[in-house]
Amino acid sequence: MEWKREELRVEKEIGEPILVVENAMKAFGGLQALNNISFEVRRGEILSIIGPNGAGKSVMLNCINGLPGYRLDSGRIVFDGQDITNWPPHKRAHIGISRTFQKIELFGGMTVLDNVKLGRHMKMNTGWWDGGIYWGKAVKEEAKHRKWIEEKVFETCEIEIYRNRITGMLPYGVQKRIELARALAMGPRLLLLDEPMAGLNLEEVEDMTRFILDANEEKEWNCTIILVEHDMGVVMDISDRVIVFDWGAKIADGPPEEVQNKPEVIRAYLGEVEETYITRR
């Protein structure tokens, strides 16, 4: 990509920590997937987690999201002052944690609009009676949310033209965007993105980068973002901070430029000879 990090960044305020992970331990059988991991994410920043395959990045994300089977063996996860370590995923969604998946998990049989609307369902209050007869309050509420989705979400992710298509039949790159749109529709405070660039072509990567920055910077969203990504160009361009995992342990934590030049990072992740990889732009 031809742009430079400095051109992409806007001045923004990075606040106090919104998510704190303390001494997280997680083992699967004999494999220590997370080994005493601690870090914090500050309000408003884009934090990238990088590391070789199998380093525990996605495990960390799933633990923050609370998927079944991903409860920490020990350690704590605190979100906005609340200890959410043992909360089920749906409760975490209600306090503003939203995510996309490495392997797309959309409602394949539904239309794009329905997918995104489902992301919005938590913000609706209609009971079973109003929703059922679909009259009065329910119609108004639905119209309000749909308008919001059309104006804000579709606009941000540029998927308006697909709104009535069946999701499962759309191209991969578009599905990735729809997943981001659905996650945004929940109005999250913390957005977890698991390899949003995987499988995208260069142009799609540029678009997706733009969408992620919008989600982070625009007033409408102002999401704090945790990004797990292999595309070093993107990571170095848009991250405020980067942490590096290797074999379930955190080996570096700091601004991109600093992390990039740490010898242990280069050794663990990039291989000693492949210095070109890290500077891919």
Binding site: P68, H90, H94, L106, G109, L118, M124, G131, M169, Y172
Partner: protein
Amino acid sequence: MVHFTEIVITGLLVGGIYAAIALGWAIIFKTSGVINLATGELTMIGGYTCFALYSFGLPFIAALLGMLVIAILVGILTERLWLRPMIGEPVLSVIMVTVGISFAYKAIVALIWGADTRVFSPPVFPLEPLMLGPIHISQVFLYSFLVAGIMMAVLIYFFQRTRTGLAMQATADDEMAARSMGIPASSVYRWTWIIAFMSCGIAGALLGNINGLNISISYLGLLVLPAVVIGGMNSIPGAVAGGLIIGVLENLGDAYISPFFPGGVKTTFPFLVMLIIMLWKPYGFWGWIKIERM
């Protein structure tokens, strides 16, 4: 011709009851991917509890409503005790659990009510048939059809138009995504079992009025399987339509084929048709055809 019309109409009316059982199959399969082999036992429990309440002297409608309340409780209990711990386990293991549930429930019912056939007495519905022109329609069948129809309309309404129903559909499509979007999967499964129990229970109570009740009513669950398969395992309206089709097929087979091949045609004929339809439409008439993008 009159004979034929009578056969088809009676078939449709009985099919209404099958449809209620088929709904029980489909709703569990749709949300959790599990083929619930205890479906017949849900029917049986519904039949016997309604019978018990009726025998206490309650009016039939009250017995039916009481049965629904018990069905809700047993549904919650079943899900909580045996299905909840199996969330996330392989589907095949869960199906084996439902086999266990089926034997256990059969045994419990036999323990309480014994193995003899029980009949609703006095009969709930008038015995003399209604005459529509030259066509005889048995009143039991007609009212059963209406009751089953109302029940299914309510359940389908619930499934399609409420937020709990929406949550069930989302979970059916992609459980992982549904969970991370604020949908509690466990409560979805609880609702699924409640609905299956209610729907099958109603069918059991109505069947009890037609043939009397005994343990073998639980085999009816399997006899309805072709309905679900023909309709498409994950389509609720498909299951209902399939139930009606099976009702008609059974009656036609009984009337026109049995005279040539005596014995059992009534129950095997729908399976034969199911086989042929499977060859032609492997997803059933209304099932999801998923074309994967590779």
